[in-house]
């Protein structure tokens, strides 16, 4: 059992670390001139954050997560609706779970 004072203190430190990560990106960029090349870097980096979350989750995770991501991708290409893709991904994951995958 962690003491209350210790717990609250630790959470405050972790909240400050999290807040720093939220503010740091814009702050750092205020010291760097934003050229066309840097914009290309940022644009690809932003998309790559999501690629870097999704691909390992789909490959390393349970098969049902891979199926869900595949179904969501097809739904997105067909409908151009992120909401539809999300619902279909969840439905596929639930169906896969019900058959034990």
């Amino acid at each position: 059992m962690v003491g209350d004072v210790t717990a609250v203190g630790a959470i405050m430190v972790l909240a400050l670390v999290t807040l720093a990560t939220r503010l740091a990106g814009v702050w750092i960029m205020s010291y760097v001139e934003i050229t066309a090349r840097i914009e290309a870097f940022l644009k690809y980096m932003a998309t790559s954050v999501f690629i870097a979350i999704v691909v390992p989750a789909a490959v390393n995770g349970a098969p049902r997560i891979g199926f869900a991501v595949g179904a969501a991708a097809v739904a997105m290409i067909a409908s151009r609706s992120a909401l539809a893709a999300m619902l279909i991904g969840a439905a596929v994951a639930a169906a896969a779970k019900s058959v034990g995958l």
Partner: protein, 244 residues
């Protein structure tokens, strides 16, 4: 492929305005994120439930959700939560899992740096993956009001807190949320966001570089770091090919 904006009904031309932060923007952001924010609820319930399972008091779980508002990092913290608290390891883990916020913030910089400082800082308080994705999509349609990031983040913060409360106080009765496919909602949404960004075959090489680096990193590096490595690999490859 997905070359057009997701909101095809709306034809917003680039207004000759200036980046700003208004109450109208905050309200618009909150309303736009509402359908997605509902999906934050099961994650909040899952976190509260997991905290309850580890005998972490509900008030402590609520404090975590309220002050950190970072799902993946909070789950990682829960994993390391024991007496005595390994504070340095906790801080480093939270930094690694949340370091992607720095990348998101950097991507917002061309827009946000033109918003006055105090408003710029408050707009970033609730920065997270879903509302960043929404804000970037809105920017593509000509949005200039940084208030939408604050509004959408605030809406998600409320839902996250409500979900944590339900999970922490009543989690034991809810059972396994994976039965409903809730654990696949976020990755499905992120996959859709990625495909929505597709413009031409020029995107292919940076995207593959990101995927390969992340995949390799997920096998070789401590938890969280594969996201940073993958994001940097995609960004560097994209910038390098830009000049050719």
């Amino acid at each position: 492929m997905a070359a057009t904006s997701r909101d095809t009904g709306e034809k917003k031309t680039n207004p000759p305005g200036h980046p700003c932060f208004t109450a109208r923007g905050v309200r618009r952001g909150a309303l736009e994120i509402a359908p997605l924010a509902l999906f934050v609820m099961p994650f909040g319930i899952a976190f509260g439930g997991a905290a309850a399972a580890k005998a972490v008091p509900a008030s402590i779980a609520m404090l975590m959700s309220g002050s950190m508002f970072a799902g993946a990092a909070q789950f990682a913290v829960l994993d390391l939560w024991r007496d005595p608290l390994p504070l340095a390891m906790l801080a480093l883990t939270v930094l690694a899992v949340n370091a992607r916020h720095i990348l998101l913030g950097a991507a917002l910089a061309p827009w946000f740096l033109r918003v006055p400082l105090a408003r710029r800082l408050s707009a970033l308080l609730f920065l997270s993956d879903p509302n960043f994705a929404q804000a970037m999509a809105a920017r593509e349609r000509g949005e200039l009001d940084a208030g939408i990031l604050f509004g959408s983040g605030l809406a998600m913060w409320f839902v996250w807190l409500a979900g944590t409360a339900i999970g922490a106080y009543g989690g034991a009765y809810l059972g396994d949320l994976a039965r409903f496919g809730f654990d696949a909602v976020m990755v499905s949404y992120f996959a859709a966001v990625v495909l929505g960004q597709w413009r031409s075959t020029r995107d292919l090489v940076p995207w593959i570089a990101a995927a390969a680096a992340a995949l390799l990193g997920s096998r070789l590096l401590p938890p969280g770091w594969h996201i940073i490595i993958g994001a940097l690999a995609g960004g560097v490859t994209g910038a390098w090919r830009h000049g050719r």
